[in-house]
């Protein structure tokens, strides 16, 4: 459990299920992220400083700049199926907002629906995780969050960017294998049909699940 001397990254997690909020919070904290959890898309937007009511009024800015400054969010991870505003709706609102669109968004869902997955990815989601979310999934967040590093650190990273972008999929596969080996070491490996299914699913799906990395114009240094 490395305690980073760098400033911590802050992740906003959105899920209407209490259990899943606890789980994602623990997963993120284990990975040394600062975490805020909310139980709806509406609350997420409030937290991000977006006032829905004001959006219809052109005189009032849709984002209060001061609020946004105080609460910096480096990544948003949201459940897809939520009452009221779905994760997809939230994703769209974030991408429509000039101040928020650069924040990477990840979607989680308990259902494996390819059309849903591609719709989210097309709308700008960085990743789509199948629930239950695991540590190996959370490890895949790092490269997306690293893109949002503050300006001075970003200039150093600029040169290594291509290397970094190339690495993560590799690393995450290695890390996944390492973790699986560790699990085998500490526990008996159970040939559960579920686990084989999941592995097969992941391998089969990986082109869909992990989108080829393009820069959605995020390299602009502000």
């Amino acid at each position: 459990m490395g305690i980073s001397t760098e400033s911590q990254f802050h992740v906003l997690a959105v899920d209407d299920s209490l259990i899943d909020r606890k789980l994602i919070e623990r997963l993120l904290k284990t990975s040394s992220y600062q975490v805020t959890t909310v139980d709806s898309g509406t609350k997420a937007l409030e937290f991000l400083g977006v006032h829905e009511d004001d959006q219809s009024n052109p005189d009032i800015p849709s984002v209060s700049p001061n609020t946004h400054q105080e609460v910096e969010v480096n990544l948003i991870i949201t459940d897809y199926c939520m009452p009221g505003m779905t994760g997809y709706d939230l994703l769209r609102k974030i991408k429509e907002s000039s101040s928020l669109r650069n924040i990477p968004v990840v979607i989680m869902s308990s259902e494996n629906v390819p059309s849903r997955i591609s719709r989210c990815l097309e709308e700008g989601a960085e990743e789509f995780f199948l629930k239950p979310v695991r540590l190996s999934d959370v490890n895949r967040l790092r490269p997306h969050i690293m893109k949002t590093k503050p300006k001075d650190q970003q200039e150093d990273k600029q040169e290594n960017k291509e290397e970094e972008l190339g690495k993560p999929e590799f690393q995450s596969r290695e890390e996944k294998e390492e973790q699986q080996q560790q699990q085998q070491h500490h526990h008996l490996q159970h040939q559960h049909s579920n686990s084989n299914k999941r592995k097969a699913l992941e391998e089969g799906l990986s082109p869909d699940r992990t989108r080829p990395r393009y820069n959605n114009g995020l390299t602009t240094v502000v």
Partner: protein, 155 residues
């Protein structure tokens, strides 16, 4: 595989864990939860399980009520079950999840009898798992207590 120096209770705990796996009560998600425990969060698994049982009690009640109302609102049922299944999945409750899937299939076909029948199974698995987990956590507490340092007689 098993560390030799564990006291007897902890060994039994390991065996119980494995038994649960072999019988399909729990899956790798439960292991994942255990791996998320550390010195700062030593009771994470038990907390998750407690939250699950608190939450799910309400959901099961809702489902029960929806099943006795006439006409049955299958959309509502599907909704409740979707949430319940999601939570079950998050703690690794395999058997419970399986029954949920069967229930959902009946629900989508608006098959009331199938739903009612399967719901009994859901409740049964849910209660059964609860008992097993209570035993498991109780043993865990014993293993962590003073007897843990007593040094094990493997047996």
């Amino acid at each position: 595989m098993l560390v030799v120096a564990l006291p007897r209770t902890a060994l039994f705990l390991q065996a119980l864990n494995i038994y649960y796996f072999n019988k399909g009560y729990l899956d790798e998600q439960f292991i994942q939860l255990e791996e998320l425990e550390d010195d700062d969060n030593p009771n994470f698994v038990e907390e998750m399980v407690t939250t699950f049982y608190n939450n799910s009690a309400r959901l099961l009640q809702n489902i029960e009520q929806a099943l006795v109302s006439r006409p049955i609102d299958f959309t509502k049922l599907d909704n409740y079950m979707h949430r319940f299944k999601g939570s079950s999945s998050s703690i690794g409750a395999t058997r419970v999840k399986k029954e949920c899937t069967i229930f959902t299939e009946y629900c989508k076909k608006a098959n009331a009898e199938g739903c009612i029948r399967t719901f009994l199974q859901v409740k049964q698995e849910h209660a059964c798992l609860r008992r097993k987990l209570e035993t498991y956590f109780q043993l865990g507490r014993q293993a962590a207590g003073p007897s843990a340092n007593a040094g094990g007689q493997v047996g």
